[in-house]
Symmetry: C2
Subunit: 335 residues, 2 copies
DNA sequence: TTGAAAGCGCTAACAA
DNA sequence: TTGTTAGCGCTTTCAA
């Protein structure tokens, strides 16, 4: 039924080895022979079977991608970066959602090992010991994208979240704020807890501002929780005048929460976000935000993975991409 | 190096066939034997090689997903629906972006055939003849998700876009509007041209309102183009008082375009969208919108595909999901 | 430059 | 209930 390399060999009066050579671009084939084989391939509409090839060569030209949730713009942007570079290097991608659950991450890894992927890009809020252990025992290279491994043992691509948070909060302090809230996503996320929160604290400390734990809100990082956080903070005896939001949705929730109560941004309160998705321009006022280069993190992760898969020399297994702050309207110009 | 079914067989003193049986849950194995094998599998950390299995069984338990752009929330939501059901049926997904380019769609299909996927879910704005031809010659079942095949020959999952558009525009007419603009995405998209636009026209016609082509704007369906469309339409001698937007981004662009010019929604103009992504609630005013059940379209497509792959009986190869209008603030209550 | 042949790790008759 | 054996379609030595 299906055309195999044998059929082509027979029709072209050559051995299957020769057909294999022309299919794989091996130069050791006489041009005339090559042409003859190519003609038969076209006539028979022969299509190499990647599964058989994978079994024989032990390479599937497929990489696994484990992502918390592809329907989340944040990760979708990362995934696109990964996919583009994968395509460029002729890899296909097996994409699976983990929903941030460690048990699923573990099971997904196991599943991908079984599928004989050539490498894996993993995104996770928290690299647990079990996960770390499994990654270290992986039969194929694994790169962490936008994901922190506190032990620094696994290859990864990130920005300096700590420094970025520090700068964001400092920018708020520059505008003379003393009461600065941090409305964060889950603090069980390493990036949020160990970097953004720490950067926030350090910036306040360096400015001689006392930390007030009541100004730190942990949330699900959604729009609704942003609104709820604003309402909650507004009821404080001494409410904040500036907000450092963990992501764009939270920031927009904060702004709409304020607007619904007649509080004007940036006149009455100021907001800085941490993401800069395309949502940042789709609110009024537009969001000043730390620029998280998600696409690039994905792309660079995949590029790094190709180096591991090709056993190329790796300069740095932990790459830190640059970040910056995009000034828009939710923050007044520096005074 | 790697543990194979042979190693397990040897260690357990059984034949590889028996190991294969226990791995595949074949009931024809004596419990004692099964246990013995299972123990060895655990001790050796044996992991079945899916590639070898795929070659021998001609089933890879992976399905291909061709999507225009995973970083677009619209498609990401669809993809999530597909992935969830795929996981439920123990399939993995190979995800590729086509960027709506026919040449890439064709090439991606070819690539997936080569990878021996068991089935494919395809999303595309426009099913060209070449694409249709390739789908019909596919060695594996293909289901279209949120994608129209005008010939109705290919299995697909959609809503009734024509009817939905008709209802949306009728809703605008109900609020006494006579000058109704349609700000659409690309009209080379079958859904936009043959259904939404047609529904728009029919609604106007049924209400005795003359079609004014200057009120129909074709765009890239982005936020910026929504704003640009508003500005353009506002300059007309007789500008529209109501807008039917092709998607949420366009609707938000329209609203912000209006607000930037001091035009108030819904007092001065009214807007209805067609998507109802989570963005719909993240604007002020919130968007009244036709609800496009993207997740469900993805999920149902994948479910339908499993039926084809299992050669189950198919009731309807063309499924049409229900839709409705979610009333929010960008439209006044019916008069 | 080409061919022969031995796997790759597994499934699936078929036989026992 | 278990084992034997022939592939699945290809890559990759090794020889010629």
């Amino acid at each position: 039924m299906t055309i195999t390399i044998y059929d082509v060999a027979r029709e072209a009066n050559v051995s299957m080895a020769t057909v294999s050579r022309v299919v794989n671009g091996n130069p050791n084939v006489k041009p005339a022979t090559r042409k003859k084989v190519l003609d038969v391939i076209e006539r028979l509409e022969y299509r190499p079977n990647a599964v058989a090839r994978g079994l024989a060569s032990k390479k599937t030209t497929t990489v696994g991608v484990i992502i918390p949730d592809i329907s989340n713009v944040f990760y979708a942007e990362l995934a696109r970066g990964i996919e583009d570079i994968a395509t460029m290097y002729r890899y296909n991608i097996i994409l699976s959602n983990s929903d941030q659950r460690e048990d699923k991450e573990l099971q997904l890894l196991e599943n991908m090992f079984g599928k004989q992927v050539d490498g894996i890009v993993l995104m996770s809020d928290r690299v647990t010991n079990d996960l770390l252990h499994m990654i270290e025992r992986s039969p194929v290279p694994i790169v962490l994208a936008g994901t922190i491994d506190a032990t620094n043992r696994i290859a990864s691509v990130n920005i300096d979240y700590y420094q970025a948070a520090y700068e964001a909060v400092t920018r708020l302090i520059q505008n003379k704020h003393q009461r600065i809230a941090f409305v964060s996503g889950s603090l069980s996320s390493t990036i949020n807890r160990a970097f953004k929160y720490t950067g926030y604290e350090k910036a306040l400390e360096d400015a001689g501002i006392a930390i007030d734990e009541s100004l730190v809100i942990e949330s699900d990082a959604t729009y609704d929780e942003g609104m709820a956080a604003f309402n909650h903070l507004q009821k404080l005896a001494n409410p904040p005048t500036a907000f450092f939001a963990g992501n764009d949705e939270l920031a927009i929730g904060l702004i709409h929460g304020a607007q619904d109560r007649g509080v004007v941004v940036p006149e009455d309160i100021e907001v800085i976000s941490f993401e800069n998705s395309k949502l940042a321009r789709m609110v009024r006022p537009t969001l000043t935000s730390v620029v998280l280069p998600l696409y690039d993190i994905g792309a660079v992760s995949m590029r790094l993975l190709t180096k591991y898969m090709n056993k190329e020399h790796i300069d740095e297994k932990t790459v830190v991409l640059p970040h910056r702050i995009e000034e828009r309207q939710s923050l007044k110009k520096p005074i």
